[in-house]
Each structure stands twice: as C-alpha cells, then as structure tokens.
Symmetry: C2
C-alpha cells in the first residue's frame, strides 16, 4: 500500500491511503489519524489500512478524492529518528578523491552514517528557505526506509525484516558549512538543515521484484531547473543494504518504530548516468579539470527528484524551490 500525510494545520497532519497509480486518496478515518500511530501499532493497524488500499485500487473506496502531492507534508512530518547512511561508496570515493584524500579500506566493511535532525521535516513541494545563498546549497537524492522496532544487536537480516515503508528523501546540505563543522569533530548540525521526503511512502510489497536484497533496483531521476542532471540506478551499487545500515545503527541501542534510515546520495560509477547531488559533479570536475565549474543552487532554483517504474511514478515527486528566508 501507499501512504501519505495531508496538511491539516496540525504538527503531524492527517494520514491518507493513496492509490497505486497516485491518482486518488482517502483519509484513514477510524483507523489512524497519524502515520506514527500506525507505525507504533503496525501489526494491528497495517492490515486495516491495507483493506482500504485494496478498495481504493479497485475504485471502491468511499470518500476517495483526487490525490494532490502539493497538499502533502513529509509522510512523517516529524520523526523520533533520522539516521542517514552513505552507502554508495562511489560517491564517498569521488568526494574524497577531489580533496586529495584516500578512502580508508575500512569503509568497505563499516558503513558511514550520521545522526540527523528529525523535528521539522519538509513536505515534498515545500519551499526551502535559507539565510544565505553563499552557504553552498545542494540537494542529495536518496532512497530511505521507515523501520518498526528493531532490537539492539539485531543482525542485518533481522534488521531488514524491520523495514515497514520505503520512500525518497532530499537531504538538503550546505556544502560550505560542512568543512568547518566536520573539522570540529562532532559531525553535521548546521550544515544539514531540514530534510524533505517524497509525497508517498510505500510498503516493500508494492515494489515487487524491484525490492531485492534490501536494495531498491530502480532509477532515480534528478531534474535541476528543468534539466535532467541525473538518472542513477539505486540498486546494484548500494554497497550496504538497508538491513546492514539499520543493524549498524542498532549496535549499541534499540531502534524504535518510526525511525528513518537513508541510503545517502545515490551514485553510479558510470558517469553518463549523471549525478544526484551537485557536490559529486563538482568532485568529478575537480578530478578531471582541476576546478569545480558547476555552482551550487541559487534562490529561485527548483529541484525535482522522482523514481519511476514502467513510466509510473512510484513515490510521487519531490519538487522544491530554494527561497530566501524572510
């Protein structure tokens, strides 16, 4: 099934069930009002939402209405955890190479992951306000999952069974704030502002054989100001699958229902596939030409991130404009 959260003026919005083709939706009235509520009690609530989903897909749902992604908040407008991996080692290697650093051999066995802020996510079509265009505004197109409860010390296989939903993320990054912030040693804080998510989150069964081995084998398209800059395959080059990423997070603590875990920027070694964040394009330019030519995003710029299967949008599109703070 496919789930979304409609804006209703509240902090957590209203849970809606969305049809497979994203054409119609219906409120999950009488079942759950918020997505976190469904995740907290998944085994009881999910089957009821699934019944609504079946009715909706057969055009038999009562009170169905046209689905409008512009009415969406992030599926979880705020969450109790957002932990973002960096599972495409091609990306990690390129970015390091551009600054003259080697990628440690250990990175092949031990995932990179950072703890992100999760109290104020952006909806898929929300404008993205920044105080200064000189901060190096960049998108990062990612796949991510929402987990149920995963116990401390879960194996990657156990952790993978904890995946409840799959969605897309735009992990906004402020590139010029990153080097000084990471130099302080405590990871990202100001350099990773609010993250945006796709209109719809889907259960793994909706993905059929595209969801295999804890990876999503579909192409992710990034379109910057109307120009397609990336069409990268999210599947085969994801060096750590989602079960491995979740297990990494669960090594020393329980991971609780509603945790979002991201893949990191999707990246392919084949350069004709383009890029899913500007930093990677700039890294390639540095390596090849000695200088980065592509600038970061400016106020007014629009980024669109979408994943299609058989020409149908799976999660709906993230489409956001960068704006200047009031």
């Amino acid at each position: 099934m496919k789930l979304a959260t409609y804006k209703d003026g509240s902090r957590d919005g209203q849970l809606v069930v969305v049809s497979r083709d994203l054409s119609t939706a219906t409120f999950a009235t009488g079942i759950a009002t918020r997505l976190q509520q469904a995740l907290d009690d998944w085994n009881f609530i999910a089957p009821q939402l699934q019944d609504v989903s079946v009715a909706l897909n057969h055009h038999k749902a009562r009170h169905a209405f046209p689905f409008d992604p512009r009415q969406c908040m992030a599926p979880l407008p705020r969450a109790f955890q957002w932990a973002d991996g960096s599972a495409y080692l091609n990306h990690v290697e390129l970015v390091r190479k551009a600054r003259g650093a080697e990628m440690p051999e250990s990175f092949h066995g031990d995932p990179l992951m950072y703890q992100g802020g999760s109290d104020d996510f952006l909806g898929p079509c929300d404008p993205v306000p920044f105080g200064d265009a000189a901060w190096g505004i960049d998108f990062e197109a990612e796949v991510c999952v929402v987990t149920g409860d995963v116990a401390m010390r879960a194996s990657p296989e156990q952790a993978l069974e904890g995946v409840r939903l799959v969605l897309l993320a735009n992990d906004w990054s402020l590139r010029h704030l990153i080097p000084p912030e990471l130099a302080k040693g405590f990871g990202f804080l100001q350099s990773k502002p609010s993250t945006a998510f796709s209109p719809v989150a889907v259960t793994p069964d909706e993905l059929g054989d595209a969801w295999q081995g804890g990876r999503l084998h579909l192409p992710l398209t990034c379109t910057w100001n109307g120009r397609k800059v990336g069409h990268v395959d999210a599947g085969p080059e994801m060096s750590f699958h989602f079960g491995q990423l979740i297990a990494h997070l669960a090594k020393t603590r329980n991971v609780r229902a509603g945790t979002l875990v991201g893949s990191g920027t999707v990246s392919n070694a084949d350069r004709t596939r383009g890029y899913a964040c500007i930093a990677e394009k700039r890294a390639l330019e540095m390596i090849e030409d000695g200088e980065a030519k592509t600038g970061f995003m400016q106020f007014g710029d629009v980024i669109r991130i979408e994943m299609k299967r058989d020409d149908h949008s799976v999660f709906g599109a993230i489409e956001q404009q960068v704006v200047e703070c009031d």
Copy 2:
C-alpha cells in the same frame, strides 16, 4: 511546576504533575496524557497543569499519590530532537590536552554540539544494557532544557525565551568506540547509546534565582558505586548559556517543540570539585601522571546523579546500574 512521565506500558507513558518536594504526584487527567502533547500546545495546556501543581503543593489535589521515581520513564520517553552541546570548555580543554591537542581558539565563540538519537530514552532508574564492558562505559552528568518552537535564525535572547523545562541528563558514552567513530568524520552514532534523564522536568520559575542568564547555578553531584566523585557547579563555568546553544542549533533550521538541548558534561576548573564523567578524571591523570588509572564502568556498577537546593532534590535522582545485554 514539576512534571514527570509514569510508566504505563505505552511508548509515551502518562504525564504526571509532581509536588515541589517530590513527595506526591497526580495524573494530569483531562488536561494532557503525554508531555509532548503539553509542549505542542504549551500556552493552552501549561496554565491548566500549573493549576494542578498549585493544588498539589497545597495538599489539595484530588487523587494525589506518593511519587515514586522508579515508576518514571524519561520525562520525554522519546523526543523529536536531542542536541547535546559541550558548553563547559574546561572539560573540552582537558580532554584535548590529555591527547596532546590544543583547543582551537574558535571554540570560545562557536559552540560544540552533536545531534543525538532520541527515539529510545532511558528512565532515571532503568538499568543500562551494554553488549561489551570493554567499550569503555562512561556516564556524563549534564543539565538540559526542553524547548518550545524556536524559529530559524533566532537570537540567543529569543532562543532563551523558548526554554520550557529544565532537567538532568546522563549522556551515556562508549569511550573506546568514540575515537574510531569520530575518525570517520560523521560524528557520534554507536558511541552514544540511549541517554537517560532525571525523573522530573521543571519549569524555570521553579528554580528561582538559581536560573540566571540561561544557566543553572546549582551543584551537580555524581556518586559512583556509593562514592561521591563529583560535586560540580553547573553555573558560572558554562561558557555558552542555553540561549546560545539553542540559537546555534537554529541557525539553519527551525527548532520545534519538545527539542532537548544538553549542556555537555558539567566541569569546573577547581579540581577539588571532582568530575561528572570518568573521561575527564582520566584526562587529568594522563596530564599529571602520564597514564589514566581510573577504569571505566563495569557491569554491576551504579551511578547516581542529583542536584540539590537547600538540601532538597530539585529533579529527583538519576540512579542507574550498568548491566550486560541478555
């Protein structure tokens, strides 16, 4: 007023109002069931809770019962954000000096802060399970605050007005996991397991003149296996006050209601005051004797963290035993 969260088998527990002397409590029935709910709608709900608090302190509350901190979850058993500063520069300087590093001059103007996990907090008297005692198990006694909504780019003064509640934290740390994790460059993840909080969170007005300039001017006592190891003043040596810490967090994004912001390990330059984390004691030993003699915590060890005013416990005590994972 003083607020706590009682265990009731649910993820978020039951909000209770606690008397000033911590002797009695009453459920906030009919007002709010969860603390996050009160924080989401503070201006409407807080005055109602305050009325209950007044009645309770005058022994006029209906259905009051003896308050038992062992029944408490963390005041927010899970939160949408936990960002922990490192505001006592004496601590930062000592730890760096012990490993032969200078503290950058910029640290005097730019707070250190890390984004922590917030999906699975520990109650004040909950056992603390770890997989391996060789990880270097350490406590960190801190003051922290819960905020309301604070807008992006708030000034330190505006941010300070966003403080809703004050409480204590024990920011459990796995010291031997920290160096390799920080070396990866993305901050803490596995090395910072679930954090514990004091039984009670209090509104700033409860603190009287001990709450001044965004700092809490009271001594924090740490007792390790029955031996008092620290009695540190949380006030004057806090180099950045809570308004500055919250404003740092809000530079590039909104900070939403229910965010927890920590002070970092409380630390005094006067060494006779002792320590609020073992790492600092070990740093002093390294500097003075060339080797760290004090070991980290072992399974079975107990740490008690408490803050008193006129010999009365303000927040109740955090008292936790380290145990081995099942």
